[in-house]
Symmetry: C2
Subunit: 653 residues, 2 copies
């Protein structure tokens, strides 16, 4: 699959954008007109720069408001088009995007449109230019891709074809199956964009909320499958208008986009396999046939789709690593929670703490020591630095992550020590791929202490979920990273009120819930963006599941654990909402436990005080409860805010 990206997706100057696209590995780019118009680089130098960078210039865009106009306006439009055709010759480009008219269309006649597009095609032919006509979702008369295609067929000129843009098609819920019947010679270009499903006017949705494939909710693999089956083999190019991407680091965003196309390519191949037409003699089994059945020979299409090393979803958390310059506070809390100290590592400055199958590595690396990119803020005294996931084959999972351009984390190790393959997630958390074992133990623990994993207290305990605070620029990127590299699935996102604003919360899970990862986007605070820059709620945590939370809480209290103190008002409201048994309610209140209930089951949990920017949670899931106590999150935020605020009052202006 030939990959492309429109320059409008990225921040910076045209030159910076082109360099970032080359570094990210795109085959070609679309030149968004405004990026050229505002650039001091001449068309000739853009052409040369592209050649030097190994980028093809695939599409000049957009040319707006051409069709369905009066003869006067048409003449002006043809003159305008000819100026662009001449410019394209200097750029060495041969394809231009012409959108269906939004603003100046005044005559609704397909005959007239065909005639006008025919004249444009003839003029384009004179200049060796191909016109890719696209139905905008909000086009005045032409808003449906099949309508645009009918016009192209009616004109029947070799220099006129259509451009298929997933956003304009899927935002309107048009059926994509008819694409298969299109002649491949008439599909001049394909643009892909994903988007969250929002109910708002389609123009605003398109201009601000598009995201890279895999970061939204459109059925893009199916869209691509129909295009592949139609016989199209040209570029598949990203055209994403996104407020955040336009603001954030150009090279990061370009890599994020490239990752999305690599992932989409794989998903498209899978869709084609799963929806393969029944071939005579293939036994009537699609690729979705019974396990062990040989997949039918894949039908070949002009577009070749590369695949990635296949991985199953992870089987669980292998460990979580917390870093701090001074680890005293962490050690105290872990001990009070019931974790056992399993010793120090043979060669590294790290400690192992375990409770059942929950393993926490305490890394004594001083933040800012250059050991990791994670310690961006000197204010963070302790932070989650790494997560280990149990995967079936770390080598294959690692190869997959590398092909998805996940930045590798180098890991020094001595002889006989287990080497984990590691990658940096978009928020700089290091993600390690570990070999899971059927009994839930981990071989590497023998590198600690006396070499024997100690019989741990709370044998049923495990990591229930991890909650990571995400920087605003990399939230969508993180969703795609965990989706594509680790096969986690995003759940519908929630918004949780906090004293400093709404916290956007995105849960990523495996199908069996053995891994639950929560990505939290903390609101910008008053200080952000004005230079002072300390987040008041930029906290993250690790939650451990136990069998009996009440007993665990009593044990923790006996060991002196500092619980997050839950207000009495909360328990009154809880009682009003659920009508709990008085003794149970009293127990909850006595132990600072929080409670939630839904149709599937019950949830009990408590939080520790915060150490640095990390705190811990203990949870008990009853029945098939699948949530995270979201109704209680505002209480947690408020109490944490109150504590932090008393410690670090905001200076008055």
């Amino acid at each position: 699959m030939r990959t492309g990206i429109a320059t409008v997706c990225l921040s910076g100057t045209l030159k910076e954008k082109m360099q970032a696209c080359a570094i990210a590995g795109f085959d070609g780019i679309e030149i968004f007109e405004q990026d050229l118009v505002t650039s001091p680089v001449t068309p000739e130098d853009v052409r040369k720069m592209a050649a030097d960078l190994g980028l093809t210039l695939d599409l000049y865009q957009p040319f707006r408001d051409f069709d369905s106009v009066s003869e006067d306006l048409l003449s002006a439009n043809l003159r305008r088009a000819e100026a662009k055709f001449r410019l394209m010759a200097r750029l060495g480009m041969d394809t231009i995007l012409v959108c269906s008219n939004v603003a100046t269309a005044s005559i609704d006649s397909d005959d007239l449109r065909a005639e006008q597009l025919g004249r444009l095609a003839a003029l384009a032919g004179d200049h060796g230019v191909k016109v890719a006509y696209e139905a905008l979702a909000w086009g005045k008369y032409v808003s449906d891709y099949e309508h645009a295609h009918r016009l192209v067929e009616a004109v029947d000129h070799p220099n006129l074809g259509t451009c298929l843009d997933s956003f304009h098609i899927l935002s309107r819920n048009w059926d994509t199956a008819p694409i298969e019947a299109f002649s491949p010679e008439k599909i001049f270009f394909v643009q892909v964009a994903d988007a969250p499903k929002l109910s708002m006017d389609v123009l605003s949705w398109s201009r601000h909320y598009r995201v890279f494939p895999g970061e939204g909710q459109f059925e893009l693999a199916k869209f691509m499958g129909h295009i592949v089956r139609a016989g199209y083999s040209g570029p598949v190019s990203l055209e994403i208008f996104n407020d955040v991407f336009r603001q954030s680091d150009v090279e990061r965003t370009a890599v994020d986009g490239m990752r999305s196309l690599i992932w989409l390519e794989e998903q498209s191949a899978k869709w084609l396999d799963a929806n393969a037409p029944v071939l005579a003699g293939a036994g009537g089994q699609g690729a979705a046939g019974a396990p062990g059945t040989q997949a039918p020979a894949r039908r070949r299409y002009p577009m070749e789709l590369a695949t990635l090393p296949q991985v199953a979803e992870p089987a669980g958390y292998n460990f979580a690593e917390v870093r701090a310059a001074d680890t005293k506070g962490l050690e105290t809390v872990l001990g009070q929670l019931g974790f056992e100290f399993n010793g120090r590592h043979r060669t590294k400055d790290v400690q192992l703490w375990t409770m059942g199958h929950a393993r926490v590595i305490v890394n004594e690396a001083a933040p800012g020591s250059g050991d990791s990119a994670a310690d961006a803020s000197p204010a963070i005294a302790a932070a989650i630095g790494a997560l280990g996931f149990d995967v079936h084959s770390p080598v294959i999972a690692s190869a997959r992550a590398q092909q998805l351009k996940a930045p590798a984390v180098p890991r020094k190790s001595q002889a006989n020590e287990e080497v984990f393959q590691g990658f940096a997630a978009p928020d700089s958390t290091e993600v390690f791929l570990c070999q899971g074992s059927p009994d839930g133990t981990a071989a590497w623990t023998s590198e600690f202490g006396d070499g024997l994993e100690k019989p741990a207290a709370g044998a049923a305990a495990k990591i229930d979920h991890v909650n990571l605070a995400q920087p605003w620029q990399h939230f969508d990127e993180a969703v795609l990273f965990y989706t594509s590299a680790l096969a986690l699935a995003p759940q519908p996102f929630a918004e949780v009120p906090s004293p400093t604003g709404l916290v956007r919360s995105q849960v990523m899970v495996t199908d069996d819930r053995s891994v639950r990862l929560v990505l939290n986007l903390a609101p910008l605070t008053q200080q952000d963006g004005s230079g002072a820059g300390q987040r008041t709620t930029y906290q993250e945590h690790i939650a451990f599941a136990v069998r009996d939370l009440v007993a665990t809480a009593r044990d923790c209290r006996a060991r002196g654990l500092e619980f997050l103190q839950i207000p009495a008002n909360y328990y009154e409201d809880l009682d009003a909402r659920f009508g709990l048994a008085p003794e149970f309610l009293a127990t909850l209140q006595e132990l600072n436990l929080l409670y939630d209930r839904d149709a599937d089951g019950e949830f009990l949990h408590f939080y520790t005080a915060t150490v640095g920017s990390v705190f811990f949670e203990m949870v008990e899931r009853r029945g098939a409860y699948d949530g995270y106590g979201a109704p209680n999150a505002p209480v947690r935020h408020a109490v944490q805010y109150d504590l932090l605020h008393r410690l670090n009052p905001v200076p008055t202006k």
Copy 2:
């Protein structure tokens, strides 16, 4: 008018919110349940705190999903309600908001609803509680305020009334006139919220985009007018769900809200005057009658509406002040633009530069000297510090601004020096109210140099517009500030692409365009929110209008002015778009002039290089052109970014 605000409008803890409301001067507050549930303060202490702060506790809210349910669910709901009624007794509160059911409603019967609301009213009566029933715009069966009112009438219980919320009514475009026929005894509460007109689902619109009255596009004065005419005299309370308000400084936001109610009170009184019913003997003239006609005696309503000192829109800019620690660069540019140095001030470290009626004060106060709140960032070497506006009566305008809680700027002055009344705008720009003179001169200029305003070059020159960069937290607040205190009118806002993201641009004008002020919300950059904190596009400027821009540009060039260099690609595109005469196009390109044209006229302009964070623009308006060359703004942003980026490369990670 009794003023109120719901705690959900604000950031922080319940205690912080209540204190901010008291400081801002609200009469009462609505307790948003979550703020109480998450608070460590007991209900009794909330009651005491409110009494100490002089705040009444007007409404407990919300109570959700009560009506239209099965008998089982109703029993649970009544139990839940009774728990809240008991809580309200401890808070000393008597009114609760009950919203129409969204989630659990399953039976669509008005008879059943009336019966269920009747049982709730009876229970409320037992506890001395009044139930204010509100139709949510997205209620499952009840979404129309008249429907809610009909149910209240049907129940006819003294403890059941309705709550009218402007958002739920105006978002659905319901006619507000029928409110006048409501019995005032049945209107238990009134909530006001404004909002920009967006096409999106009404729930998301409501939860994220509400703004304070005067910051959106709803016809709130009319809404209030009908309520006043109905005879309602209870609290008028803000209920604003806004993502930014929830994130920003609680005291600032509370004052912004209070200002919006003061302004709304005035606008409501004006609407009532302008729409006064024709009274027998009053001559048939409304308040909108011929000038000089005596306004008819205002009809009296139970709600008394205070008015503010009246001001007309300003007649023009009196001056603009630029501050810098080192003023050399500014002096050079002003001289090259054709400004004359009119000397230094008698007693202050400021210089006066004039060209025609355009006056620029260069303030040599070092940023960070504590002289002003404007110099928040030490990186800003030169910045716009103050604007002077010509008003009819500075004393009256100042009294109005003070009543609108604009923070006064103290101004030291010696004997015989003119004293300006000054206020700090939300972005800390100081706004001064000056006495305009019919011939466009300014008396205070005699305090400079030899005491005589010099015959200035370019006599026709004046300040055309000023463009101020706004911090993200105070954008809506700024719109209301200039609307209410200075009678500027917001125009529809635009979004301009720049290399670091979309710039939101809000034009504020007087009706005759003698004052044009542009508020620009620069996008957060990669650095913001991660601690480093330097904006790359946080620039602002002053634009001067001249009669002949080509001649002016030639003069400036002869004086050595450094123009912002416009790329050749821009002129090619200009030619493609407008088909300009070759000589004219050549002149534009030779002089780095930008060009725009619309149905009303033409616009020529050029920009200077940036000094500190300030640059200047020269414009020529031809015909009735009313814009600002918006199509050219991306070019300006790109070239400025390119320059700044070359000077201050972003460190690579």
